[in-house]
Amino acid sequence: MENLSWLFYAYGIGIGVLFAYVFQISRREQTLRRRMADLQATVEEHWKK
């Protein structure tokens, strides 16, 4: 029974690391998209002036 807990810990770490990485990459992608949209808006505003 104790080994079952260790097995769950191990799989929890494995799946957790995968999820954490995908989550972190997705957030980076969203941040970059937002940053690019802001930059494009700044350039367009500059052109209007």
């Binding site: 260790w6 810990y9 690391v17 995968l18 700044t42 350039v43």
Partner: protein
């Protein structure tokens, strides 16, 4: 590379992401419910079905990243550099999983978390080589970045056969190979199926991650390009 291309279609197609998620769920069912329990180690042996596919995926990622780095050096086409960084970053992820799960298994079966035998040490070296790769990539100027990183990738690729063969060449505490390990080695058909299924599931997850990370690399470069052009316009007073 155009901004349009970098921000257009989804990085991970639904079929790939969906298949990867489904395969991983089926794999967990096989591991926890379907596969028989190994007689000598008991239930803790089931760590093997995630530990080994994670290692194999890291090896595949090493080779893909290394070949992409060499192709970038040969062609100077940024698409290879994007693939290289995406693949090499996943080496750290899968090696971390491999080492952490192996360590938990070692604690239950050997009674220790870690030992400096050839297999474990070479895996540890691989992990830190790619951590170094990521740190150096951030620290070096763009002009020399690809060359420095390609050298690290080649070292990483050389380490992979050493890890794979270490428990065949040296006497290690790590268990002897169960596939292609000579007479007396081998797995029961259900165990072999679960292992191979796990490798396929892990490769699908890896493929999705690489596509997502490659998109981020494309966006990073597009953003840098946009900042540079904006600054140029401001400097020229346009």
């Amino acid at each position: 590379m155009s901004t349009q291309r970098a921000t257009g279609s989804p990085a991970v197609p639904l079929w790939l992401g969906g298949t990867a998620a489904l395969a991983m769920i089926v794999h967990l069912y096989l591991v926890f419910v379907w596969v028989p329990t190994e007689s000598s180690m008991g239930i803790i042996q089931r760590i093997f079905y995630f530990h080994v596919p994670a290692a194999m995926t890291a090896f595949v990622a090493c080779f893909v990243g290394g070949v992409a780095s060499i192709l970038y050096l040969a062609t100077r086409n940024h698409k290879w550099d994007d693939l290289s960084v995406a693949s090499n970053e996943t080496v750290v992820v899968f090696e971390a999983i491999n080492i952490a799960m192996g360590s938990i298994w070692g604690r239950r079966v050997w009674g220790i978390w870690w030992t400096w035998d050839a297999k474990l040490t070479s895996a540890f070296v691989l992990f830190f080589l790619y951590v170094a790769y990521l740190l150096i990539r951030r620290a070096t100027p763009v002009e020399v970045r690809a060359t420095v990183c390609a050298v690290i990738c080649i070292l990483g690729m050389l380490d992979v056969p050493l890890i794979y063969l270490s428990n065949r060449i040296f006497r290690t505490q790590h268990p002897a190979p169960v596939i292609g390990g000579g007479p007396g080695s081998g797995l029961a058909p259900e165990m072999l199926f679960t292992l191979l299924f796990g490798m396929c599931a892990m490769l699908l997850v890896w493929g999705s991650m690489v596509r997502l990370r490659r998109r981020v690399a494309q966006l990073e470069r597009a953003a840098e390009d946009l900042v540079r052009r904006t600054n140029e316009m401001i400097d020229q007073g346009i």
